[in-house]
């Protein structure tokens, strides 16, 4: 067993976890909102990209941006429907409503795309790089670099721009933000659109690793949950570190102990973490 190879696998896995989780992190941190349809949005992102590739003959590098835009538009519609509980910060209603959306997406997707596993192929998936004993694909490189760039840009926008300050102000106190002339409802829509678009990008980069199914999404939402909580709810830097940490843990645990128990072990770590450091990595 090659430890270096496992470390690379871990980083690749971890960048995927972080990428899929980033939308939720921002949603929770910036808007104090939840979206339990996150996993199904991931599924939709992958299937939209797959559909425009297979049905319309669009190439992968255009199909992913199309999926990102499509899911962003879906985000506008969803947020429009949920605006009332969102403005009242009614988390219980939102939990149920978004769970419902998830089921609708799953049912709708299986009607639309069928129930069979499909191959969502990126041309970079088969472009391998070998250096001595270790190997990875250009898709892995793209995912890693894409994740780091997205996190970097997001951090800059949130912390160094007026738009970021507006998002942070709404996160802290949406009512007070209104007195500053800020339309909090619009900010919520923006954040929600970002979440949907980011998860579509995550799907576009990560989903080609294995066959896609309209029933997928649950595993993704569970791991997203682990990353978001470990990172310290709402912390961009924390969730990046948590994503990589979870990826490395999964790769090493799978290689050294047992791949069948990695999810269970990840939750064990989460449990231990929550006892020792209840506010996550980013806690001051």
């Amino acid at each position: 067993m090659n430890i270096l190879q496992q470390l690379i696998n871990g980083l690749v896995l971890g960048s995927g976890y972080a990428l899929i989780a980033i939308g939720w992190t921002v949603l929770l941190g910036a808007a104090r909102l939840v979206n339990f349809a996150h996993g199904q949005l991931y599924m939709l992102g992958a299937f939209v990209a797959w559909a425009v590739m297979t049905k319309l003959g669009v190439n992968y590098f255009l199909a992913v941006p199309i999926a990102v835009v499509a899911l962003g538009l879906l985000g506008v519609v969803l947020q429009g429907l949920m605006l009332r509980p969102v403005m009242q910060q009614n988390l219980t209603s939102l939990m149920i409503v978004t769970l419902g959306f998830g089921y609708i997406f799953q049912g709708g997707a299986s009607r639309l795309f069928g129930g069979d596993p499909e191959r969502f192929v990126s041309p970079l998936q088969s472009a391998e790089i070998r250096i001595g004993e270790i190997w990875f694909t250009w898709q892995d490189v793209l995912t890693l670099v894409g994740t780091l760039v997205l996190f970097g840009v997001l951090w800059l926008v949130l912390n160094r721009t007026r738009v970021g300050a507006i998002v942070r102000s709404v996160a802290e106190d949406p009512k007070l933000a209104q007195l500053f002339g800020i339309n909090a409802a619009l900010v919520y829509i923006g954040v929600f659109v970002f979440e949907c678009a980011a998860v579509a990008l995550g799907a576009g980069l990560v989903a080609p690793r294995s066959p896609i199914l309209t029933s997928m999404g649950f595993d993704e939402v569970i791991l997203t949950f682990v990353v978001v909580v470990l990172g310290g709810i709402g912390s961009v830097t924390g969730s990046l570190i948590a994503g990589f940490g979870l990826g490395l843990f999964t790769a090493l645990f799978g290689a050294l102990v047992s791949s069948a128990y990695t999810t269970a072990a990840a939750f064990f770590v989460l449990l231990a973490f929550l006892v020792l450091r209840p506010r996550g990595l980013a806690a001051r």
Partner: protein, 243 residues
Amino acid sequence: MTVELEATGLSVRYGGNVAVDGVDLAVPTGKMVGMVGANGAGKSTLINALAGWSRGTPVVRGTVRLGSTSMDGLPPHRRAAQGLVLVPEGKGIFAELTVMENLALVRPPADPTGRHLFSMEEIHELFPRLAERRHHKGRMLSGGERQMVAVSRALRAAPRVLLLDEPSAGLAPRLVYELLETMRKLVDRGLSLLLVEQNVRATLELVDELYLLERGKVVARGPAQTMRNDPRILEAYLGSLTG
């Protein structure tokens, strides 16, 4: 005398409780109007209703006009953009944003006709401490400094009418006078201001007109000179002057 802000028949209910009951109120252009009353008289509820704002879910009736524009049905961020700017009681700035970020959240109005745009230089002239503190986060500021940021933020919005809810709460008496004197200076330069205060003595010294609110109703109103000798004010708030 032109009226900058006018409310007619303003009532606010929370569930079955009537907090403000049929209030008529006017803030003349370039004047400072004070609103005093005991705790629970409905002062904050009233000033929040003018801004269309609340942390609860009240039912508001009546009309509010800013100049010739009706504010009825406008959400608070739209009223703020029109120049009806509220500094609420208590938390008035963002704790996790720096002083600069707090001030930069506010956009100057699209149509600044007839409104004074306060430059950062003017703000720093009014509140020199804020220049030193500009990179400090809201939570690192003292109560007085927070109030200065809250007022500055409102000024950056180029208010046609500034609504100020108990700026003195939690401040040392010297700071209260400093802040209120600064507000008076701004009114003398043309700002229209409605001030809700518990500190009746300080308010009477500075305002042009005074309203007395009791159980959600205006029970007395008039020029500050007259109100100073109003038996209800003397009895309830300035007892030590006569006694």
